[in-house]
């Protein structure tokens, strides 16, 4: 077992973990951060996307021990002081989710995309979300939501 200490959604956590433990399993099973989900085993679907030190990562593709000392943000820590993040609001406004399973990862990736490019074109949004699969929405409203959020963040 290896001792890790990190900040998750603003709280300091410290645990002994088996070295092979994936970050997503640490988040879900040890910390109870079940808002982050697992959709595949091959890092294709992006449902498990979280932020690690401000960058989006697929948490099924990161070992918990690699996150030692890092600051992680999950979908559960995105809203601040009860105020939804503009991307969360836009997903609701634009009906960018149906079953909602891909949504945590899709929102976290969208936040990351807008951090890198605050004014993305439709094509840039589509390419920026290529690593996140959604089976319900056909992506159209997700793209619309990212555009809407981009406008709000810029203004």
């Amino acid at each position: 077992m290896t001792r890790i200490t990190m900040t998750v959604d603003g709280a300091t956590v410290s645990d002994d973990v088996a070295p092979r433990t994936l970050l997503v399993h640490y988040l879900r099973e040890t910390l109870g951060k079940t808002g982050t989900v697992v959709g595949c085993d091959t890092s294709n679907c992006g449902a498990c996307t979280v932020h690690l030190d401000g960058q989006s990562v697929k948490s099924c593709n990161v070992l918990a021990v690699q996150a030692d000392g890092a600051e992680a943000t999950t979908i559960e820590g995105l809203a601040s002081d009860g105020e939804l993040h503009p991307v969360q609001r836009a997903f609701h406004e634009c009906h960018a989710l149906q079953c909602g399973y891909c949504t945590p990862g899709m929102i976290m990736q969208s936040v990351d995309l807008l951090a890198e490019n605050p004014d993305p074109s439709e094509e840039q949004i589509r390419i920026g979300l290529e690593g996140n699969l959604c089976r319900c929405t056909g992506y159209q409203n997700i793209v619309e939501a990212v555009r809407t959020a981009a406008k709000e963040v810029r203004s």
């Binding site: 088996a18 879900r28 951060k33 079940t34 808002g35 982050t36 989900v37 697992v38 959709g39 595949c40 085993d41 091959t42 294709n44 679907c45 449902a47 999950t74 979908i75 559960e76 995105l78 809203a79 939804l84 969360q88 997903f91 609701h92 406004e93 009906h95 989710l97 149906q98 079953c99 909602g100 399973y101 891909c102 949504t103 945590p104 929102i107 439709e122 949004i125 589509r126 390419i127 979300l129 290529e130 690593g131 996140n132 699969l133 959604c134 089976r135 319900c136 929405t137 056909g138 992506y139 159209q140 409203n141 997700i142 793209v143």
Partner: protein
């Protein structure tokens, strides 16, 4: 109290944002895999790597002695308590149906079948130990190719279940001459061969995987008097029924909960071996047990969809008037006849004739057992297959006659003044307006302009050619009238249940037997009830997906929730109003005949006197002053059995660019005008259409479950099974016409499957249209660059040879 009050905005038709979203966008979710219970044990499955093999022996000793392992079981450790996976729809009385044990003890019939289970304190320990289970298999010849399996009786080829002696499960036939719904199709074809047009084609419906985003998961808690199962399922009520029917536990002792469920698309319309095994383990061990599949397990063991060969013969007069349609299908069931199983292609029997006035029709479907993953419903279930077949054929007819594909359709479709119309398949279409939907679609699409561009590109010899694909589809939704299901030998009815409970503090609890998994029922059903009862949208709470709360129901599939479940809601609401009216009359000291109900208030006609429905609910709760003989309750139930299916329709137009040098295809434009009847929430309807379109387009262009010669699924992960991403898709241009259904109060028709059913042939027709001048008349799905390129090369070779 004033008589004149501002009328509230109608909820029906309003683009309400969803009630469901708040939890889902903040991660406050209840997926089955999130559930943790005290003392809970975890399961890992040992699955067969062989498509067909005898289990010679299983050595579990090393696994059983691994750290933190509680127990290891094989099929031999269980008797009847394991139950069986059921087929609820034997399509013929003589259907050949293999016994389907959730964990067979002697022989596996597809790669992925469960042969042993490890139960441990953690999921990791279970999975580690599962690697140590040593199974000795004797490999058997596997029936893999659908056509070869269908003729194995004659050829002596491999039999999927040797004890059955055949791979042929059932032959289901409909003939319009026998049924009295039309003429003799052989006569029509013979006549057309003499002095008309006969189009003969064979199409392949490739095997698909539903690929819902949430892997299936099941938790069983046996520690209460009622055993509770949480399952990522579309059908908690049917699962409960089937558990009781097959495992010997009384139905009254079973509670099934579908908590948040992450998509289904038919793929969670199943009674699964995984559910049955976990059920047995929890009962045996007396502890809560959880199993969550990996994605690869999901792809290999969750049921697949489609997989047909379609041999189609269409006859017409020289002017394009269709005279007959003959449909001969081979449908791959996979290794077992699943819960709906052979019924899926049979649903297509009623849809091949589509919106056209065929005077003669023959449909025959042979279902076939193979040693591949079992197949069952996938979004559209039987209707996409039929729609693909007929819409491809109508394009082929147009090409043969040298006329516009919309022209040949218009010549043959049911005119809007001809409804109600009884089809050659025996269904009565209540309403529709194909002319209006097509006119709007052409205008939005810019049909004439795109045809002009297509001509220019042809003339200039542009290496990138443009093709335009048409699909004027209809579907049968709102499954289903129980009498019709009975006549087709389905094992259950098609009704739906709803309850409306008026709470004393002014809110309304609505319970539906439909079981949403992303559709937005909580929002749309709130809108319906808010309108009906005249209460605020926010005051309505919709509960579902738990058999102890929603005690009756037949769940969600087949675009039935709104059409059937919504009507049940309307009827339960009306019963509440009828009861409240008696109380209102009593409390207002008026005659019942003088009470008018409007916008949530019961008013005494011609006076300013009235009471709100909430006030009456409070008065009934107190029960201090009610009419004599009246029970102190407004709460009401309704169980609605539909009288007919509903028939959404629409016109979809697709423009595809095809690079004739590389075979690469690119979607240029997609316009659809759908007529789904009355729209409750346009935002939700658009979302359903978008998602449906992409699933249908994905069948046309990308997705296929591929097996190797040994029967191993080689597209067994998301690396290999090609789901479209945001970068693969475009923005779609949506429109609507509204021809309300005449068979339910709200005029709704259902929308969940429309996009998927309509889009596949529109896309393939467009691809073929782009290269038809090169001699291509079909491209097998998925239309990958390789297949498109090969089709062009093959056509060129044929043209060269014939020159």
């Amino acid at each position: 109290m004033t008589a004149v009050e501002e009328a509230p905005v109608a909820e029906i038709g309003r683009d309400r944002r969803r009630k469901e979203d708040q939890r889902l966008i903040t991660g406050r979710t209840r997926w089955t895999d999130n559930i943790t219970l005290p003392g809970m044990l975890h399961v890992a499955m040992v699955r067969s790597p062989f498509a067909h093999a005898r289990i010679v022996g299983i050595d579990t000793s090393e696994a059983a002695s691994s750290p933190n392992v509680t127990a290891v079981f094989t099929g031999a450790d269980f008797g009847e308590e394991l139950g069986a996976c059921i087929n609820a729809w034997p399509i013929t009385p003589d259907q050949v149906t293999p016994a389907h044990s959730p964990m067979p003890a002697d022989r596996v019939a597809f790669a992925g079948e469960i042969v042993a289970v490890v139960v441990a304190r953690t999921a990791t320990a279970a999975r580690d130990a599962a690697e140590l289970v040593d199974v000795d298999y004797e490999e058997l010849p596997a029936a893999l190719d659908l056509k070869e399996a269908a003729t194995a009786d004659e050829t002596g080829g491999p039999i999927a279940h040797p004890d059955l002696g055949t791979n042929k499960s059932a032959l289901w036939v409909f003939d319009s001459a026998d049924a009295g719904t039309g003429g003799d199709v052989e006569e029509a074809i013979a006549k057309a061969r003499a002095d008309g047009v006969v189009i003969e084609r064979e199409f392949r419906q490739q095997r698909l995987i539903p690929a819902f985003m949430e892997p299936r998961s099941v938790v069983v808690d046996p520690t209460g008097e009622q055993l509770t199962m949480w399952s990522a399922t579309q059908i908690p009520h049917i699962v409960r029924f089937a558990l009781a029917a097959t495992t010997g536990v009384p139905e009254s002792k079973i509670r099934v909960i579908a908590p948040d469920v992450g998509g289904g698309f038919g793929g969670k319309l199943q009674t699964t071996p995984e559910e049955w095994v976990v059920w047995a383990l929890a009962r045996r061990l007396g502890k809560p047990v959880k199993y969550t599949e990996t994605r690869s397990e999901s792809l290999v063991a969750g049921h697949h969809g489609r997989d047909q060969w379609q041999k189609l013969t269409l006859s017409a007069e020289k002017d394009g008037t269709v005279t007959g349609l003959k449909v001969e299908l081979l449908a791959d069931l996979g290794a077992y006849v699943a819960v709906v199983g052979g019924g899926v292609p049979v649903l297509g029997a009623f849809m091949f004739n589509a919106i056209y006035k065929f005077p003669a029709y023959h449909f025959a479907c042979q279902t076939v057992l193979t040693n591949k993953t079992w197949t069952d419903a996938y979004r559209g279930a039987g209707r996409p297959e039929a729609t693909f077949g007929i819409e491809r054929m109508m394009d082929e007819l147009a090409a043969e006659l040298g006329v516009d594909p919309l022209e040949v359709r218009e010549k043959n479709w049911i005119g809007h003044e001809e409804f109600p119309f009884t089809t050659v398949a025996g269904l009565e279409y209540d309403s529709g307006n194909y002319e209006a939907a097509t006119a709007l679609a052409k205008e939005k699409f810019g049909y004439a302009e795109l045809r002009a561009e297509q001509r220019r590109r042809r003339e200039s010899g542009d290496p990138v050619q443009l093709g335009i694909g048409v699909s004027t589809f209809t579907e049968m939704c709102g499954l289903a009238p129980s009498r019709v299901l009975g006549s087709l030998d389905y094992g259950a009815g098609g009704w739906e249940h709803a309850s409306v409970r008026m709470l004393a503090t002014g809110t309304v609890e609505v319970i539906t037997g439909a079981s949403a998994h992303g559709q937005g029922h909580e929002t749309a059903f709130s809108q319906i009830v808010a309108d009906r009862l005249g209460v605020p949208f926010e005051a309505v709470e919709v509960l579902h997906g738990d058999t102890q709360i929603a005690a009756k129901g037949l769940d969600t599939y087949g675009s039935r929730s709104l059409v059937v479940g919504g009507e049940a809601l309307v009827r339960a609401s009306d019963k509440v109003i009828a009861k409240a009216k008696l109380v209102a009359a009593h409390l207002l000291e008026a005659s019942v005949d003088d009470i008018e109900f409007s916008a949530g208030r019961f008013n005494v006609r011609g006076t300013g006197q009235g009471m709100a429905i909430g006030e009456i609910a409070a008065a009934v709760f107190a029960a201090h002053d009610l009419p004599d003989d009246m029970e102190p309750s407004l709460d009401s139930d309704a169980t609605y059995d539909p009288v007919n299916f509903s028939y959404p329709h629409g016109t979809h137009l697709c423009a595809m660019e095809v690079d004739t040098e590389t075979g690469a295809v690119r979607m240029r434009k997609y316009t659809c005008v759908d007529d789904v009847g009355t729209v409750i929430n346009p935002l939700i309807v658009a979302g359903q259409v978008h998602g449906g379109l992409v699933q249908g387009i994905a069948q046309a262009l990308w997705e296929e479950a591929v097996y190797d010669d040994a029967g191993t699924l080689v597209s067994g992960s998301f690396v290999d099974y090609l789901l479209p991403t945001a970068a693969d898709t475009i923005d779609f241009d949506l429109g609507h016409t509204v021809t309300p259904s005449l068979t339910n109060s709200l005029g709704t028709k259902g929308v969940g499957e429309a996009g998927t059913i309509a889009s596949t042939p529109a896309v393939v027709n467009a691809v073929v249209d782009a290269v038809r001048h090169l001699g291509v008349d079909d491209v097998r799905m998925p239309c990958t660059p390789q297949r498109v390129w090969q089709a062009i090369q093959a056509a060129a070779a044929t043209e060269g040879a014939s020159r």
